[in-house]
């Protein structure tokens, strides 16, 4: 389409806009419609006035306006998402920042109020540039990954998105396949890790994989085998610092008592958990328990001084992987001591 150049041309080629007839049928009177449109604003004003009164009466904050604003923001973000149509861009991995950030309100509420996460050492995460975050994995569903992402977004001075790597079998599951990609995850394939690190992203890996999430409650806080150390060789090749992370509290959200492996095989799942509530209570059993969480980011392990050839050195790689695993295990024990109780 070529824009007309002169005013005369525009006038000659323009057509009068069609007069759109009002929709037939019943319409509410105009003042009512205006009220409908402005109702959310009035409600917010009323709530804020009420909170001021209550604070004067009680001498402390009774209604937290920030929380209410977060709920309103969440509703409006969801509405905006529903109205944007196909006009948005995703990156090559299928990551959609707007979609992801619309859920942050919910995750921040879980982070602060439900699991009361205490995060230490978040300053070890670099504000720019690449890094490989390595964490222990527990809980039947990967809430620990969600909380690590929320921690960096909520607590860090430069909020950044973390790209986690997930097991490829989740990419074959309905809903999971697109939801994980849309929120920035990639397949746990060495090639994907390399590409993400080369784009200077923060990449989160769980070397334990489903061995970590699917372990029983009696084995809680005992780290499983750390794969074959593949994450270390990838970090050496990309010259990315490795940041170990210890997460405490994720083991108690679903105390896994047993594993029905025939059912798991039937549904194509890595395991089929049995907890005190699942599957007895149906969907209610999927509600995680409100345990007390602590997340510790450890100082980075620098690998930049190692030559690229060191990635082939299986001895060095396994030694580094064991170091990282020890750091995480020690951090888990330290944080367990700092925690007063499971739900406190």
């Amino acid at each position: 389409m070529i824009a007309e150049s002169t005013r005369e041309e525009r006038r000659r080629n323009s057509r009068k806009a069609e007069i759109v007839a009002p929709r037939p049928g019943f319409r509410l009177p105009k003042p009512v419609r205006r009220l409908q449109r402005q109702a959310p604003m009035y409600a917010l004003q009323a709530v804020s006035a009420l909170s001021v009164r209550l604070r004067e009466l009680a001498g402390r904050d009774v209604i937290d306006l920030d929380r209410i604003m977060e709920v309103v923001q969440f509703i409006y973000q969801q509405r905006e998402l529903a109205h944007r149509g196909p006009n948005y861009a995703v990156d090559d991995f299928g990551f959609d920042p707007q979609f992801t950030e619309s859920f942050l309100g919910v995750f921040k509420a879980l982070y602060r109020d439900y699991w009361r996460v205490e995060t230490t050492g978040v300053e070890h995460v670099p504000a720019t540039g690449r890094a490989l975050l390595v964490a222990n994995h527990a809980g039947v569903l990967p809430w620990d990954g969600t909380m690590i992402k929320t921690a960096v977004f909520a607590e860090h001075s430069h909020p950044r998105h973390i790209r986690a790597l997930v097991a490829s079998q989740f990419m074959g599951m309905p809903v999971m396949s697109w939801f994980l990609r849309r929120t920035g995850q990639a397949v746990g394939h060495p090639d994907d890790t390399r590409r993400l690190l080369e784009r200077d992203e923060l990449v989160l890996v769980f070397p334990e994989g489903t061995r970590g999430t699917g372990k029983g409650f009696k084995d809680r806080y005992r780290l499983r085998r750390f794969g074959r150390g593949g994450f270390v060789s990838t970090a050496i090749r990309a010259q990315a610092p490795i940041i170990p992370i210890s997460v405490v509290g994720s083991e108690e959200i679903y105390p896994m008592l047993g594993d029905l492996s025939p059912l798991a095989r039937l549904f194509g799942l890595p395991y089929f958990p049995v907890t005190p509530f699942w599957p007895w209570l149906g969907p209610l059993g999927m509600i995680p328990l409100p345990s007390k969480w602590r997340i510790q980011f450890h100082p980075p392990v620098e690998v930049a001084h190692l030559p690229a050839k060191a990635a082939e050195d299986q001895h060095l790689v396994m030694a580094l992987a064991d170091d990282v695993r020890d750091t995480i295990q020690r951090g888990v024990y330290d944080n367990l001591k700092l925690r007063r109780g499971v739900f406190l």
């Binding site: 090559d92 991995f93 299928g94 079998q169 394939h189 090639d191």
Partner: protein, 349 residues
């Protein structure tokens, strides 16, 4: 050694739209251009000599020797068939084998061979990495349909390249194209698009112009090897459906794609090829950095722009006023189309 420049070029499969476009662009750049296909060309081209020849027969070798062809551009490869049937295997594997045998004859004049291949060679599955590099063809995959045929074809081509060091072989793995007649374009153009429940994969597309440009650059330049060719960026399936103005209907069950394909064929009379079913559930994206570094060129249209171009073409069929040299081609084209429509109505009655 002086660099080789193509003089006598043979183009197989000139009657498909890509072949016609490549012929049109190559004609002013090479001294002698020959085209062959089983069907009549869609547009007449004065600079090209057209031969009725079937790549599945050994006549192709005789052509190469008689015409002293030094460059063969093998475009008679079905990379996006509408149905999974025997003819795909015949065309892709047997046809390519014949072309290779024709080029490999002792004292063969052929110095450059360009073979069209497709993104379907990688297949698509949940265990695959997010990007396919050229060396990631999965030989262990239990391949079906066109994936298996393309794997077999490229194996033949790589064996040929090993045995004939004098001949530079370029394989172009073209991305999914959404011009009017590809299976993906037909699928996305439906008013209500059936999708697999709970899947919204990334699609990477290639515009028809860029596909033709890549082939022409491979002929004129000297780039031996295997190259992925596709547009920048990705488009989600739901986005693509939205751009086309359709509605996504998540009615196909997430498991058992084979069963839902069978059901579609039995109930709706729609034949969804296996590679398309895989792509609209898992998607496949290629890494084209090797193309960029070797050719010094990247596709002009991004995936999103290719999708927009298809949507625009659907809204209005633009036929520009033909300039005098194109008038004859347009007349031929319109006549062909009338004949085809006539045949369609005749076959229905």
């Amino acid at each position: 050694m002086t660099p080789f420049t193509p003089h006598r070029v043979l183009l197989t499969g000139v009657s498909n739209p890509l072949g016609a476009e490549v012929a049109r662009r190559l004609a002013p750049q090479v001294p002698m251009l020959f085209g062959c296909d089983v069907a009549d060309p869609v547009s007449a081209l004065e600079e090209m000599d057209f031969v009725h020849a079937d790549t599945r027969l050994s006549v192709i070798g005789k052509l190469v020797r008689q015409l002293h062809i030094d460059t063969v551009v093998h475009l008679a490869v079905m990379v996006d068939p509408a149905h999974d049937d025997r003819s795909v295997h015949e065309t892709d594997v047997i046809g390519t084998m014949n072309v290779l045998v024709g080029c490999a004859a002792p004292s063969s004049p052929v110095r450059r061979l360009i073979v069209k291949s497709g993104q379907a060679i990688y297949g698509a599955g949940p265990n695959d990495p997010s990007f396919f590099s050229e060396d990631m063809t999965n030989w262990d995959r239990i391949a079906t349909g066109v994936t298996r045929d393309l794997l077999e074809m490229e194996q033949l081509v790589s064996e040929f390249a090993l045995r004939n060091e004098l001949c530079g072989v370029t394989v172009l793995r073209l991305g999914l194209r959404v011009s009017e007649d590809t299976s993906l374009a037909r699928y996305l153009s439906l008013p209500i698009v059936p999708t697999f429940t709970g899947f919204d994969p990334r699609l990477q597309l290639l515009h028809e112009d860029d596909a033709a440009d890549a082939v022409v650059r491979a002929v004129v330049g000297d780039h031996a090897g295997v190259f992925n060719v596709a547009g920048d960026g990705v488009v989600l399936l739901s986005q693509a459906i939205g751009i086309m103005g359709g509605t996504a209907a998540p009615v196909l069950p997430p498991y058992g794609r084979w069963v839902s394909r069978l059901a579609l064929r039995m109930i709706a009379g729609v034949d969804m090829p296996a590679h398309l079913a895989d792509i609209i559930s898992f998607g496949s994206v290629m890494d084209c950095s090797r193309l960029e570094s070797a050719f010094g060129w990247r596709p002009v249209y991004s995936s999103r722009e290719a999708m927009d171009a298809l949507a625009l073409g659907k809204q209005a069929e633009l036929i520009e006023a033909p300039s005098p040299p194109q008038e004859y081609e347009l007349q031929v084209y319109l006549q062909q189309r009338r004949r085809r429509q006539h045949q369609l109505t005749a076959s229905r009655n």
